[in-house]
Amino acid sequence: MKKLLAGSALAVIAMSGAAAAQEGTSACLITKTETNPFFVKMREGAEAKAAELGITLNAYAGREDGDHESQVQAIETCIANGASGILIAASDTAAIVDSVQAARDAGLLVIALDTPLNPIDAADATFATDNFQAGLLIGQWAAATLGDATADAKIAFLDLDVSQPTVDVLRDQGFMQGFGIDTKDAAVIGDEDDPRIVGHDVTQGNEEGGRRAMENLLATNPDINVVYTINEPSAAGAYQALQAIGRESDVLIVSVDGGCPGVQNVQDGVIGATSQQYPLQMAALGVEAIAQFAADGTLPEPTEGKDFYDTGVALVTGAPVDGVESISVEEGLELCWG
C-alpha cells in the first residue's frame, strides 16, 4: 500500500511539472450527489488541486444517487463551456456512455472516477479504488485473526442491494477469496456452497438495513462469528443487532470505506478492520491528468496489470496481523473522509 501511494506521489510530481499554470484551461467534476461525504471530499480534492494548478473547475452533481438526467445535462454544459476534460462519478454507468462519447467526440478527456463505466473503455481512463482488493484485504485479515478457527467460522454477508451492483460483487467476492472461500463465478454473489457461509442479505448501505439484515441472519443461525459488511454504516447497524443480543464482543466485523465515523468505530472496537479508500486522491489525480492532457495531449495510463488507475486502498485496524499490510487507526483518522 505504501508503495502504491509513493508511486502515485511520483506520478503527481511528474504531472504537475508539465501542467504548471495554464491560463484558460477548465475542467468539470460531475459527482453523484452533493450530500454524500465521499463526494464532498472528492470535490474538495479537485478544487484544491485545480487552484494549485491555476485551472478553473466547475463542479456539478445529481440531486440524489441514481439521478442520471442531471449528469447528462452537466456533460452537455461542459461541452458547451469548452472544458478540456470531465471527471465523472457516474450514477448510471451504462446509460451515460452515449453522452460521454459525445464529449470525447468534441475533444474532451473523460475520466471515470470511483466507478468504472460499462464498458470500462467508454471513458479515456478510470481512476478508482480496487474494490476487489478492498474486499481481499479484510478477508485476509479476518482469516489471519481467527487463525485455526477459520475452518469452522460462521460468516454473515451484509451486501448492498439485490441488483448486485459492481461494487457490491467486487467487495463481497474479494472478501471470500481473501478468507479462503471458493467464489465459483466471481461475477455473481450467492452461487457459493461453502458451509461456513450462513447467508447473504442486503442493507442498502445504511444503518437500518444493516441492523435488519444482521437480525435476519442471526435468526437463521445465532452462532455467526464473522460479519462482512459492504460499508461502515451497515457495519454500525449490524453492531446494534449484535449488541441487542449481547454478542457484540465475540463477533468479528469487517467493512470497507474509510469514512471518519467508520475509522472511529475501528478505534472503539465496533469494527475489527476496514479497507480505506481515497476520494480526495482520486479527484486530485484526475484534475492533474486533465491539466496534463490540456498541455500536451498526454493520456493517463492505467496501473500496470489492471484496466484502471488504482488510487489505492489501505487496511485500517488496531490489531495488525502478520502477512497483511495495514495502517494504524491514527493514520486512518488522518486520511479519512466525511
Partner: protein, 360 residues
C-alpha cells in the same frame, strides 16, 4: 271525476300488489362479506395468522419462537408507527408522501441540537417533536386552506424536507457510541425488557419501548377514531367532505389537525429510529413513505377515505414483516419478498373492492 280524483282512497287502502324490495341472500359468503364490511381489519388479521402458521410449518421453531416473533415486532416498529400516521391521513382520502422525510429530519434535529449546539437533550427532543408537528401543520394548511391535492403537496414537501435534511446535517452521522456516552435519552426507545430469557439474557420474548409505543399509539388512536367526536369527524371528512361540512363539521380544522398529528407521530418515529439504529443517520428511513402506504393498503384501509381500522395498518405492517423474515429464514432470494408484497397489495385492494359491494 270521482274515478280519477280518488287519490285519498288509494293511499288509505292497503296496496295489494307486492312492492319491489331487496332480497338479501343469506348465503355463507354474503354473511362473511358483511362481517368483513363491519370489521375491516378482520381480513389482514386472518392473513397475518395464516402467514404465521404457514411459515411456522415451513421453517419450524426457528421462526415460531418468542424470540423471532418479537423480533418481527422490532423490525416493523418504525413502519408501524409511521403507518399509524399514514392511516389518519388516508382516512381523510389524502396521502402523505413526506412521512419518512419528516421522521428523518426530526431525528436529525434531535441529534444535531443536542450535539452541535449543546442544547439539553430533553429540550432537543422536544424541538425535534416540534419540527415534526410544524411540518405536518404546513402540509395540512396547504391541503385544507390552499385546497391543493394532498398527493401534490406532500410530493413537494417530501423533496423539500429531504433536501433540508441533507443540507442541514451535511449528511454526517452521529455515532451510536457518542450518543450512548453523551445523550442516552435519544436512545430511549431502544430500552428493552425480556420475558423468558435465559441467564445470559438470550432468547425469550424481547420488547423494546419502541414496540410498546407503537402498540399503545395504535390503541389510543383506535379509541379516538371510534369513540370521540374528532374521530368521527375524521371518518366523515374522508367519506364525503361536502356532506360533513353541511352537517356542521369543521372540515378545515379537522384536516389540519390530522396532518399536524401525523407530523407529530412521524417525529416520534424519528426518535424511535435513533433507538433502532443507535445512531443519527440522515440517510435512513428513505423508504418509509412507500412502506407505510404498503402497510396501510394491505391492512385493508380504503385509499378513497372514510373506511378502515387503524389496527389494519399494524396487521399490514406485520404481514410484510412476517413475509420478509420468513422468506429470509427459508433462504430465499430477497427479491421474492418484494414479489409477494406486490401480490399482497393487489389482492388487498381487490378484496377491498369486493367488500365495498356490500349493501350496507
Amino acid at each position: 271525476m270521482s274515478g280519477t280524483d280518488n287519490f285519498e282512497a288509494v293511499v288509505k287502502e292497503r296496496r295489494t300488489e307486492a312492492v319491489a324490495e331487496f332480497h338479501e341472500d343469506k348465503t355463507l359468503i354474503k354473511r362473511f362479506q358483511h362481517a368483513l364490511h363491519s370489521a375491516p381489519s378482520l381480513v389482514p388479521l386472518i392473513v397475518l395468522m395464516v402467514s404465521i402458521l404457514l411459515f411456522a410449518g415451513l421453517v419450524g421453531t426457528r421462526f415460531f419462537s418468542a424470540a423471532t416473533l418479537t423480533l418481527i415486532l422490532q423490525q416493523v416498529q418504525l413502519v408501524g408507527i409511521v403507518a399509524a400516521a399514514q392511516t389518519l391521513v388516508i382516512m381523510t382520502a389524502g396521502i402523505d408522501l413526506s412521512v419518512g422525510a419528516i421522521a428523518v429530519l426530526s431525528s436529525v434535529v434531535m441529534g444535531q441540537f443536542a450535539f452541535r449546539y449543546g442544547i439539553p437533550v430533553p429540550l432537543a427532543v422536544l424541538c425535534g417533536l416540534g419540527v415534526g408537528t410544524a411540518l405536518g401543520t404546513i402540509n395540512g394548511w396547504l391541503v385544507a386552506v390552499m385546497k391543493l391535492p394532498p398527493f401534490i403537496v406532500t410530493l413537494g414537501t417530501w423533496q423539500i424536507i429531504l433536501a433540508t435534511n441533507f443540507l442541514y446535517s451535511a449528511n454526517e452521522t452521529i455515532r451510536a457510541q457518542d450518543i450512548e456516552d453523551r445523550a442516552p435519552l435519544l436512545q430511549f426507545f431502544a430500552s428493552t425488557f425480556k420475558i423468558g430469557a435465559d441467564e445470559n439474557g438470550r432468547g425469550g420474548a424481547t420488547f423494546t419501548f419502541g414496540v410498546i409505543f407503537m402498540i399503545l399509539l395504535i390503541a389510543v388512536l383506535s379509541y379516538a377514531l371510534r369513540s370521540t367526536a374528532w374521530g368521527r369527524h375524521v371518518y366523515a371528512v374522508g367519506d364525503d367532505p361536502d356532506a360533513a361540512q353541511l352537517s356542521g363539521v369543521n372540515v378545515r380544522g379537522t384536516l389540519i389537525s390530522v396532518y399536524a398529528l401525523s407530523g407529530l407521530i412521524c417525529a416520534f418515529a424519528g426518535w424511535a429510529l435513533i433507538g433502532r439504529i443507535g445512531s443519527v443517520s440522515p440517510t435512513s428511513g428513505a423508504e418509509l413513505n412507500i412502506q407505510s402506504i404498503t402497510a396501510v393498503v394491505i391492512g385493508g384501509i380504503s385509499l378513497f377515505g372514510g373506511r378502515g381500522s387503524i389496527w389494519g395498518a399494524l396487521f399490514g405492517a406485520l404481514i410484510v414483516g412476517v413475509f420478509s423474515l420468513g422468506l429470509r429464514l427459508l433462504g430465499v432470494d430477497p427479491q421474492w419478498t418484494f414479489f409477494f408484497i406486490g401480490l399482497l397489495i393487489i389482492v388487498a385492494v381487490a378484496v377491498d373492492q369486493w367488500i365495498r359491494k356490500v349493501a350496507a
